[in-house]
Amino acid sequence: MCTIGEDDFGDEGAAHAMVPESSDSGPIMGGTCTKCGVESEFVYQLKFRTAECKGCFLSYARHKFRANLGASKALPKNAEVLLVVDGSAESLVLLDMLHYAQTQNTFKRLHCNARVLIIDERALREQPDDDKSLFAILQELRIRYIPFEFYVIQLGSSLNDLQKLDEYVPKYGTNELCSTLVKLRSLTARQDYLHQQRKIFIASVAHKLNCGHVFEPSISTTLATQLLTAIALGRGGSAALDVGLQDDRLHSGVKLLRPLKDLNEQEVQFYVDAQKLKPFMSAQQYGVKCGKGASLQNLTHAFVANLQQNYASTVSTVFRTGDKIAQNQQLPQALTKLELGKSDAPSMPFVCVHCLSPLDCALSDTLLAIEYSRAVSKAGTKCFAADELETKAKQQLTVERTLCHACRNIQAEFSDDSRL
């Protein structure tokens, strides 16, 4: 029988049926704007909104960006901001919006100083792109968005290699990051490792450029994927920071902000069209071409893309679920209590040395159950007292006491004795 069926019926507030609907961007045709009444050649018809002219659409989309930064007071006045542009449509929309907000000369102006960072990730790909065309595109961007300064650096290289776009000379060959990646057995571990390393790297570049804030161009669809990925990787306790407006786990006090988090794919497409933006790298992520079944991340990506195609409102439900979760703050406090009596208490870190999420191992019955499984498999039919095995399992849980559970999963996949 389906004993599970009894859990299926939601309380008030949960969705009851998956409504099939496509995420068609909808035709853009001539007509009258329902907002300002002006006749125009193109109008934009968003789902759940009436047709509007380009001007009205742009101010609607830009308002979402400003509202996110304003309502939360996440960005102090005159903050130094680093904007990461990866060539994706979202990143160009963010660049355009930020530039617009900066160049307003009225009271509407957003008071901050922005720099643009291009991360050269070509060393991670087998076929490097055509240098000339890429740099021509970047120069074009720089000129379009004067006075922003553009910086380029190869992912994983020394901070001394950070250069202004005009002076950038791409270097080929591998670096430490590339050689570490190769040592990880599964693509799941490689992608998770790279994801964490990229964040650490961006924070260090931001710190070097005296930027206290980093803008990341994630939109609601990306964040829905991020949430499910975090859950699958065992990062539930810190998933709120992976999908929220602000992630403050980074080194040197750098804060990561996601001002586009409330935009959806359709709004991004319309914005790209309205402002004639040219996405250039399609933000091809590391390992995506290995196929859907090659990693947990690729599978999750494909799962959400399929939902977006056929059940678009379910994707927004996932995103909104992510908006309701909070970081698990109880962990460090509980650990303090647990560890206080011990002599090595002061040296006990509260956060993972790799991803800076709160440590989540010591108190989990589920993780203890996994270690217990290993212990009983080893014991077999040999008679062991149950508490003897439990003691063994508990010891196992504290072996990598400086890493969170998900990072321990990465650590376990090194083919040599590398340490995170």
Partner: protein
């Protein structure tokens, strides 16, 4: 090349455990599988000596293995529990009538008392008749809501201290994903709990198989030659669960430990203070536990009896409108009759 058993017992391994990747022989697998469930029961304090426990028995693999292992552990570790089987007859031809035969077999094999409660006697409706009225799209809703309450009613009649259900690790991971897909924060908060309910007015539910993988449950039943009924319910599960299940199966192929990792994630989730918690109370109509007034079972039943089966499927406000409309129509018709009678 045959692999040796991980426990170095000297025998050849016959299977690889999906949870840890360890290869084990048959005897060591039995010992490990049972020891883990024992550990779960002890470390989570699921039972107390002298208690009477109802095993929710469907005749399927999970509840059959649960009944078998609970009986075994109760004897070998002297838990001092009185175990009884509790079955629900939903009235699904070709599915439930066959699986109930399996439950009766369990009763004889394990020498446990068996109580069967039917939807027919509890609600006046069988699932066959419900499906005839509502079609096949929402039937699992009715089945699930009615079963939840039916188990409570049966447990009350039997006077048990708790109900043990056969939810396994896969079910729980799947439910975490499903609740994220449907935005059900209330259920997301508690779906990983090994013990739920147990206030003044509810009988607690416990999940001793919380950390047992479905694949291992199947292997255990297979090697132990346990009799179970293996046909899936003839009605399809709801769309959210269907998607969550397919997704989880794909994830498991890439990394089998993902099931435990998802349960771990679900347990670590916390919610913003602004997210409201459901207030659990008691249904004023039927007296069983509910976070809504009246409870879902009562609303669904009212819908069936009024000939408005969609009542309670969507939002409450919509259901209230449907009732109001029908009441108005009935009132109008009655008035029309009165007018006619006046002449």
């Amino acid at each position: 090349m045959p692999i040796n058993c991980k426990s170095s017992c000297g025998k050849k391994a016959v299977l690889k455990r999906p949870k840890t990747g360890d290869a084990l022989c048959k005897e060591c697998f039995f010992a490990a599988f049972e020891a883990e469930i024992h550990h779960t029961i002890i470390s989570s304090n699921l039972f107390r000596r002298g208690e009477k426990v109802a095993v929710a028995a469907s005749g399927g693999k999970d509840s059959t293995v649960l009944a078998h292992v609970l009986k075994l552990l109760n004897e070998t570790h002297d838990y001092g529990l009185e175990l009884v089987l509790l079955s629900i007859d939903e009235g699904i031809t070709g599915y439930r009538d066959d699986s109930l035969e399996t439950v009766k077999q369990n009763r004889d094999d394990y020498q446990m008392a068996l109580k069967i409660l039917s939807y027919e006697e509890l609600y006046g409706w069988t699932m066959d008749r419900i499906v005839a009225q509502i079609g096949r799209s929402n039937n699992c809703t009715f089945c699930g809501v009615f079963r939840r309450q039916a188990l409570d009613r049966g447990a009350k009649q039997l006077g048990v201290d708790s109900i043990a259900t056969g939810h396994n690790a896969d079910d729980i991971a799947e439910t975490v994903l499903m609740n994220i897909l449907r935005g059900d924060t209330a259920r997301l908060r508690r779906c990983t709990d090994i013990k739920t309910g147990g206030g003044d007015d509810t009988i607690p539910r416990v999940k001793p198989l919380k950390y047992s993988y479905e694949k291992e449950i199947v292997m255990y039943a297979h090697y132990k030659k346990l009799v179970y009924f293996s046909t899936e319910c003839v009605f399809a599960p709801n769309a959210y669960r269907g998607h969550a299940r397919a997704f989880l199966k794909d994830l498991e192929k890439v990394r089998p430990s993902v099931i435990m990792d998802i349960i771990h994630s679900g347990e670590q989730l916390r919610f913003k203070d602004s997210v409201k918690k459901p207030v659990r109370g008691v249904c004023a109509r039927c007296g069983f536990v509910s976070s809504q007034q009246p409870c879902k079972a009562c609303v669904l039943l009212e819908g069936l009896n009024r000939g408005l089966p969609k009542l309670g499927i969507g939002k409450k406000s919509k259901g209230d409108r449907m009732i109001a409309n029908q009441d108005r129509e009935i009132a109008l018709r009655e008035r029309a009759n009165l007018v006619k009678n006046d002449f």
